[in-house]
């Protein structure tokens, strides 16, 4: 132990300093917050060629959370597992007679309800794809249907006839007709905390909260969004709702009597769909999930809104107007439907299938019954314990970190200055070339190097100079160097056509730079009297 301690105490005086390029100024805001890193970690896959715009996307609540997409007269089911393998073909497809407008999975994921523009609502068995119930009562196209969060018997629907209906699915009968909206009902959601409460949004700019226990079938609360409401969702607490309409997403406090808490106006075009997403947050070491609102709009942006801090935390652009968005309950898949028949599915890496993995462990239990005894005849015997992880209380003796030296570093250490310059010129990293040149200047060897370069190497240098000499960042060093190089190697340049070509390029880029400088000076000449005048006031 004493020996180890002593080893640890010794140090060397000198350190190895690498040749580093000059630091660049850092932007004041970080390029990527942990959260945007999280949202970017969804590996995007395109599901193309779905003919028309994706009206509705819905995730099954039961693992592995397959999702259904409604486009034209078709509903397709996709498996998120196949997405990670790059397979984008649907696992099953259901055809309809009319355009499908809305989809909803039952809470156990066994049934799928779909509505179409003919006013018909059908309930399918997800596995067999057979229609089990046909609910017909709406006289105009149905625009949304929704299964309640826990209730398996009822279904909520709304349509262009401005009526919201509550269905008894088994009996194919309407339980309640909720009247009150004055325009198309386009969206709705069921409360996550109560099976009696739900909310619907309509093109009459209002969002109404309904309670089935109120017998006069009037809304208990009404908020005015100010624009035709495209989507409304309950936030997971059940006390807040978010509404989308026009260019804004608004957050309302239902318990506080329908007070607007915040309006998020960062979309440039109509927000078409919103859903609740979850992000991972780390604070003081422990990791937890936090809810976000994902909103998509016709401007092609998906925005992630932190309604705790009322801030847009991430924003992503897609090359098409976006129609629908959905986020899987296991937080590993998010899908976005566009108006031109493409689904952008994003899947995040993670532990695949915790359940099945566990099962495999149980099956494989027998094989681990006897630990293998290592004997000196195996090579592994001599390596035993090498990959052992240190226990918590162990005293760690760190090995000195090995410094990785680049080729030019090694050459500079050996004082092979010209070779270092040539090697770094070959590497095509501009920053490093400048750094090596600066190091050579401090060693007072740069001009010596230039005079020692042979024709090919001189060509490399001239090529580098012609590309970079006019960069403002490096021009103070490189313009001086260029001048010196041409002075010193004038004869060699005249004898070689290739070098003459480089010189021509160099001349051209300098002329270009001069032209820019001239025009900038002209602009400055125009502006400076104006500034002078405004400063006087």
């Amino acid at each position: 132990m004493a020996e180890i301690r002593a080893e640890e105490q010794t140090s060397t005086i000198s350190k190895t300093f690498l040749i580093k390029p000059k630091l660049k100024s850092k932007p004041r805001t970080l390029p990527q917050t942990p959260e945007s890193k999280y949202w970017s970690s969804f590996k995007s896959t395109q599901i193309p060629n779905l003919v028309s715009s994706i009206y509705s996307l819905s995730f099954s609540p039961s693992p592995p959370h397959p999702f259904a997409a409604a486009y034209s007269a078709t509903v397709s089911l996709f498996s998120p597992l196949s997405l990670s393998d790059g397979d984008v073909s649907p696992s099953s497809t259901i055809s309809f007679s009319d355009v499908v407008s809305s989809l909803s999975f039952r809470s156990d994921g066994l049934l799928l309800a779909a509505s179409d523009l003919s006013g018909l609502i059908q309930v399918f068995d997800v596995k067999t794809r057979t229609p089990l119930r046909r609910l017909r009562s709406h006289t105009r196209p149905v625009r949304f249907i929704k299964y309640p969060v826990v209730d398996k018997l009822h279904l909520l629907s709304g349509g262009d006839d401005a009526v919201v209906k509550l269905w008894d699915v088994a009996g194919e009968s309407v339980v309640l007709d909720l009247l009150g909206h004055k325009d198309y009902v386009r969206c709705g959601d069921c409360s996550p905390v109560s099976s009696d409460l739900f909310v619907t949004g309509s093109y009459d700019h209002t969002v109404k909260v309904w309670d089935v226990r109120v017998d006069n079938s009037k809304s208990v609360l009404e908020v005015n969004h100010g624009k035709p409401v495209e989507d409304v969702i309950y936030l997971p607490s059940g006390g807040l709702i978010a509404t989308a309409g026009g260019n804004s997403v608004k957050i309302w406090d239902l318990i506080g009597g329908g007070r607007m808490i915040h309006s998020m106006d960062s979309h440039n075009k109509t927000v078409t769909s919103i859903c609740v997403g979850r992000t991972r947050k780390e604070n003081c070491g422990d990791e937890y999930m936090e809810d976000r609102i994902l909103s998509v709009g016709l401007d092609g942006y998906m925005k992630v809104f932190d309604y705790g801090n009322m801030k847009v935390t991430h924003s992503m652009r897609f090359p098409a107007p976006l129609m629908s968005v959905s986020f899987s309950p296991d937080c590993r898949t998010r899908v976005i439907g566009t108006s031109n028949g493409i689904i952008f599915a994003g899947r995040r890496k993670g532990k695949e299938n915790v359940e099945s993995g566990g099962r495999r462990n149980i099956l494989g239990f027998e094989s681990i019954s006897e630990p293998e005894v290592l004997r000196p005849r195996y090579f592994r015997y001599f390596h035993r314990g090498q990959s052992e992880k240190p226990a918590e209380g162990d005293y760690l003796v760190m090995r000195n970190k090995k410094i990785k030296l680049a080729e030019h570093d090694k050459l500079l250490k050996k004082f092979r200055h010209k070779d270092a310059l040539v090697s770094v010129l070959n590497k095509k990293n501009r920053e490093n070339v400048i750094a090596v040149m600066e190091e050579l200047v401090t060693r007072k060897k740069l001009l010596k190097c230039v005079s020692n370069l042979d024709i090919d190497e001189l060509g490399l240098l001239l090529m580098f100079l012609s590309k970079n000499a006019t960069m403002p960042r490096y021009s103070s060093l490189l313009m001086g160097l260029t001048k010196k190089v041409i002075e010193m190697r004038a004869e060699d340049i005249q004898n070689s056509d290739a070098l003459k070509g480089h010189i021509r390029n160099l001349k051209r880029s300098i002329e270009e730079e001069l032209r820019i400088q001239h025009s900038l000076q002209e602009i400055q000449g125009i502006i400076s009297p104006l500034l002078r005048i405004t400063g006087r006031r």
């Binding site: 010794t10 005086i13 350190k15 600066e438 200047v441 160097l481």
Partner: protein, 813 residues
């Protein structure tokens, strides 16, 4: 008197104590004793009145005497002193009245151990300067080697072994049989006479070489001597003095044999068997030393590389990039420990076979030499007033933090990421260093010199201190802060979140600190500095800058004018003018509304300006080297260089004075004359309450101390308001020596593995197996021991029973 420090630790070779736990270092008039375990100073031996030139530790005569701590020291004051450095206590003083440049004591290396009866005299060989006989001799040969009888406290009369022009260092062989000096291209070697008599003939041989010899070393066991020369060659003579030192009539033999024998490499019929040459060093060899077993030779020189030569094969191993010329390599009695002294006032303790550095005893670094244009602006020393630290620029692109109160180096901050190679031209220069008032922030500026007009770069760097004291980390780099113009001054705002940098390019910039606290794994404060405003005055070069004590006024000197600004709004408030020559130093006087400015050049001037009247209060025509003003009072101190004409006569070599003024009063309240004022610095230090009990003058603690550092970075700290400038009593920190004692015993080699060997004793004590007398508790001991050693049961049984009976009776009583 006052507290002195910052002395050179490398003026003469240090010496290890016999147990290798202490290192004795000559520090000008004293010998400092450092602990090798902690690298901290334990005590110092004070008494010499001039530079101590040699320290010789008395080797132990027996292994038991290892703990004894006696040493001899020699000094230029002409005395040899004998100390017990454990206590520390002066035991004996021998005054030989001639300055001693070097001293060796070969004879106690073979003191007869049975010599109790007849006491032998102890002889030292000293290198002295003959001060008396100047008329008779040519002045050139005044340096003499003489013999000194330490037991009788006198020089051995008239015995002059040799004379040289220059003072050289005497080197003694580890066996104590020879000693030698180098003298230009020659080596002189003397054989120490066996008998301890005074006038025994001392025999001498001379070895010749063609180049100037710079270092010599004797082999510990064989007759081998190694010498290094100015060109970097190492010569090894084997079997030197075989002829001269063997027979009694050596002179005849030498003549006879030399004709016949073939002596490869040996010049001029020198008395040696062979001479071989190694060449690795590119510059002169300063350090030569054989390892204690004689298998390796250590050499080092100006390059700062310690080379280990295997003596038989000539194979080399290196300890590279020490960064400073090596001066001495000292082996300790512990074979795993040795020390190298470097020219930058550092002593590194090496762990030997691996040559890793265990500890560094860090003295103040010498001022570095800069090209002419970067000299003279500023001494480049910043003082941390609260912690009593000085921040100095060093040659290896570092800022060294040196504690003035503890007299030791605290830490170094690498400003430029470069390795310094001694002997290189300086191409990167740290031009300025500034510290914030609380010492937690630092700003440095550096210049990279251009190569024929291309590639020059000026950098301004901001540093922040970490949680560990004075472990600075870089927070912001600004490249070319004032385009390509050099920075003339960097100053911190009193609050610490603002810095002004003024440039010769005609503008100054105010930098502000954005202090974001990033909450990742731990609380981490991140300072980033951004430019807050730029100001210029008639495109004049800005030469100095200062903030007022409350931070509301910024004074920037535009050559001969002083411009006053509001630093927050960047508004020009007033212009004061004007002096005859450019101002190089500006300082506000404490909390008062006065400003002091120093200008240099042909018409140097020290001027005090009143802010309330916006006019000159008074001025002197003085050449000012440094100004420092106290934070809390209105007094300030100025270091003025005396005109060269008055130097010789009145001030006895003192070339500067420190003037202490009280505010606007043009009559200085105190004047001290000092030496080596050129390049000196002044700084007021605040006495913080925690250390106040350590610094006591006349029973009361001073409020403020003034530190003066001279051009060689030696410094004094004193109370400027104390009329007769009493000594600042520093009660030495007891903690250091206590720490030393606690450290585990310095066992090494065999002992470190198996523990201390018992003293081998031939007389085995004949103790009977069974205790013959009834002890108090015999039942505990009679069954102890291995079974084959136990006496027969019949004997034991009776003893056991008897013991039980004993117990009973004992308990009854």
């Amino acid at each position: 008197m006052m507290m002195r420090g910052g002395r050179s630790m490398v003026s003469s070779p240090p010496a290890f104590s016999n147990d290798a736990k202490k290192l004795l270092v000559c520090t000008s008039n004293t010998v400092s004793v450092f602990s090798t375990a902690t690298g901290l100073q334990i005590t110092s031996l004070e008494g010499h009145t001039a530079l101590v030139t040699s320290v010789v530790v008395v080797p132990p005569s027996s292994p038991a005497a290892k703990v004894l701590c006696y040493c001899w020291t020699a000094s230029l004051d002409g005395t040899v002193r004998y100390w017990d450095f454990a206590v520390p206590e002066l035991m004996k003083t021998i005054d030989i009245r001639v300055p001693i440049f070097s001293m060796v004591i070969p004879s106690f290396l073979d003191i007869p151990s049975e010599g109790k009866g007849k006491h032998q005299d102890l002889f030292a060989y000293v290198f002295t300067e003959d001060t008396k006989e100047t008329q008779e001799k040519t002045k050139a040969l005044r340096r003499q080697i003489r013999k000194c009888n330490l037991s009788k406290s006198r020089l051995v009369g008239r015995l002059i072994l040799g004379e040289t022009k220059k003072a050289e260092v005497l080197t003694v062989s580890p066996s104590g049989k020879f000693f030698g000096i180098r003298n230009k291209c020659r080596l002189h070697i003397w054989k120490v006479p066996d008998l301890g008599s005074e006038h025994a003939a001392v025999r001498k041989i001379t070895l010749h070489h063609t180049k100037k010899i710079t270092a010599i070393a004797f082999h510990p066991t064989q007759r081998i001597i190694a010498a290094g020369d100015v060109t970097g060659r190492i010569l090894t003579w084997r079997g030197f003095g075989n002829i001269a030192f063997s027979g009694s009539n050596g002179v005849e033999n030498q003549k006879l044999i030399s004709i016949q024998e073939d002596k490869p490499g040996v010049r001029d019929n020198d008395d040696a068997d062979s001479c071989s040459t190694w060449h690795w060093h590119s510059a002169e060899v300063n350090v030569l030393s054989f390892s204690s077993d004689g298998a390796y030779l250590y050499s080092g020189g100006k390059e700062g590389v310690l080379v280990v030569w295997q003596l038989d094969t000539g194979k080399k191993k290196f300890l590279p990039r020490i960064g400073s010329p090596l001066l001495y390599f000292i082996d300790s009695p512990d074979p795993t420990l040795s020390s190298i002294s470097c020219a930058d006032n550092q002593i590194h303790l090496l762990k030997m076979p691996s040559m890793g550095i265990l500890k560094t005893i860090s003295g103040i670094k010498a001022p570095c030499c800069y090209p002419e244009m970067y000299k003279g602006l500023d001494s480049g020393i910043a003082f941390d007033q609260t912690a009593g630290l000085a921040a100095l620029r060093t040659e290896n692109y570092c800022i060294q933090f040196y504690s003035l109160l503890d007299d030791r180096g605290i830490s170094e901050v690498q400003v430029c990421e470069r390795n310094h190679q001694p002997g290189d031209d300086a191409t990167v220069i740290v031009t300025a260093v500034a510290l914030s008032v609380d010492g937690s922030l630092m700003s440095t500026s550096e210049v990279k010199l251009a190569e024929e007009g291309i590639g020059g770069l000026v950098c301004l760097k901001f540093w922040q201190a970490g949680s560990q004291n004075k472990e600075f980390s870089l927070s912001t780099i600004v490249y070319e802060p004032h385009r390509d113009a050099g920075i003339s001054a960097v100053t911190f705002h009193p609050s610490g979140n603002m810095v002004v940098s003024s440039s010769f390019g005609g503008d100054f910039k105010v930098w502000r600190c954005n202090n974001d606290i990033i909450q990742n794994d731990q609380m981490h404060q991140n300072f980033s500095w951004t430019c807050h405003s730029v100001g210029s005055y008639k495109k004049r070069p800005m030469t100095a800058a200062a903030f007022s004590a409350d931070g509301t006024v910024l004074a920037v000197a535009a050559e001969t004018l002083i411009t006053l600004w509001n630093p927050y709004k960047n508004v020009l408030l007033a212009v004061l003018g004007e002096t005859l020559t450019p101002i190089v130093n500006l300082s506000f006087l404490g909390k008062s509304d006065n400003l002091v400015a120093a200008s240099c050049g042909s018409n140097p001037q020290l001027s005090v300006w009143s802010m309330s009247k916006l006019s000159l209060s008074w001025s002197y025509k003085l050449r000012i080297e440094a100004i420092s003003s106290a934070v809390n009072s209105s007094s300030f101190a100025a270091l003025a260089l005396l005109p060269e004409s008055s130097n010789e006569t009145t001030f006895k070599g003192r070339d500067g004075v420190i003037l202490l003024y009280n505010g606007t009063d043009p009559v200085p309240t105190a004047i001290w004359s000092v030496r080596k004022a050129k390049g000196g610095a002044l700084g007021f230090l605040q006495v913080n309450p925690s250390s106040a009990e350590e610094i006591i003058i006349d029973g009361k603690t001073p409020e403020v101390l003034l530190a003066y550092m001279n051009g060689d970075h030696e410094y004094v700290v004193f109370d400027p308001y104390c009329k007769d400038a009493h000594e600042v009593n520093m009660s030495k920190k007891e903690g250091l020596s206590a720490l030393e004692l606690k450290g585990q015993g310095g066992q090494y080699g065999y002992e470190s593995i198996y523990g201390e060997l018992p003293e081998f004793n031939k007389k085995i004590p004949e103790t009977p197996w069974v205790p013959s007398f009834p002890s108090e508790r015999p039942w505990e001991t009679i069954f102890s021991g291995s079974s084959h050693n136990l006496p027969p049961l019949t004997k034991l049984c009776s003893a056991f029973l008897e013991s039980l009976l004993e117990k009973r009776t004992a308990s009854v009583e």
